[in-house]
Assembly symmetry: C2
Homo-oligomer: 216 residues x 2
């Protein structure tokens, strides 16, 4: 009945210790496995029983909310930085790169953005993020670097595609996504005399094939 740390009586010392352990474990497990990870796995990783998790957080949603407000704020901060970059195109490139990198390091963040059920608690934060994205986009178009027929949903989609390639190639070729993001950036810019060198080698066919049969 007592989820909140600040109001009402403080938790007993051991309970508070466990609460922190659970949050840390959840951060790790959600980052590695995405939001599909089971709470049992988190409990095990935290070294506590399942019951303990559920006494502290009424359900999975609550745990997710407790964790990802911060991660979303990081993302928004990155977007703000991009919107203030002296070179709008460079800002956009950096934003895409760091947003994707964040989502690779934390698959939970990716799931939250693109595949999570009710994100009611994040509505506001997401709206802000959207506005900043729109600005980044508009500035790069105005500077003449970003082709004018793209909009913020295109940026989001490019991000989605990139994280999906990353998920596909992980952990065989951890930087592969940079190659395809590079390719798409060459498609996004207005004009180009020659290909921008791609920042990562492609997969060789054997590895590619191996990745196509998941050992499920």
């Amino acid at each position: 009945m007592n989820t909140d740390t600040t109001t009402s009586r403080p938790l007993r010392a051991d309970a508070e210790r466990n609460r922190r352990r659970i949050l840390a474990a959840a951060r790790e497990v959600f980052a590695r496995r995405g939001l599909d990870a089971g709470l049992d796995e988190i409990a095990k990783h935290a070294g506590v029983g399942t019951g303990t998790v559920y006494r502290r957080f009424p359900d999975k949603k609550a745990l997710v909310e407790a964790l990802f407000t911060e991660r979303l704020a990081d993302l928004t901060a990155t977007a703000h930085r991009a919107a203030g970059h002296p070179d709008p195109w460079a800002g956009l490139v950096e934003l895409l790169e760091s947003a994707v990198a964040m989502q690779i390091e934390d698959r939970g963040l990716k799931d939250l953005l693109f595949a999570y059920g009710d994100k009611g608690a994040f509505r506001e934060q997401l709206a802000v993020l959207q506005e900043v994205l729109r600005e980044v986009c508009a500035r790069a178009v105005a500077a003449g670097d970003l082709r004018p027929d793209v909009d913020l949903t295109d940026l989001a989609t490019v991000q989605l595609m990139t994280t999906q390639v990353a998920a596909f190639a992980e952990p065989e070729s951890p930087g592969l996504w940079r190659r395809y993001l590079g390719l798409m950036l060459d498609g996004l810019c207005t004009r180009r005399e020659s290909p921008t060198p791609l920042p990562h080698p492609p997969l060789d066919t054997l590895t590619f094939e191996r990745l196509c049969h998941p050992p499920r």
Copy 2:
């Protein structure tokens, strides 16, 4: 014990009729839902019991093999056509477009190529496909249209990314993938003075958001 139609005694008329119904239903269900679809669903769709499916096809793998040899052959034929196109770049574009279109119409094909466990029975066909892809790629590079730092795994990956966007946007915006394939094609070509017009409008932000919360 008798799976094969040609050898040994022919099936009883009703059995043969059911076999065809099962194949037709499987084609439809796999196309719509992908290879994850359960055989119970196929049985129901065919109007037969689950047992009937399993008497005709020893397991799911057998059913998949019976169906997808043909689909793969279609894909290979398309690739051959691309390899023989008078304009290598146009051939490549057409190949990507039709390969993706085929995988959208038949999610089972997509799963077979990129996400299915043991595809032992298809090894040979896949090897041929690979060779043809390599040729399409080489010809377009030789013609100076395709940037020389890409190879056949890049084409495969572009295809994968495109089908994933399509899966994401389906059925809200069925042609959306063409937009992002267009974008990537602009990244794949060697040089370009101005953006090639994109063949499909982007999602509006509301639809995009809706697609991000799957109602699961």
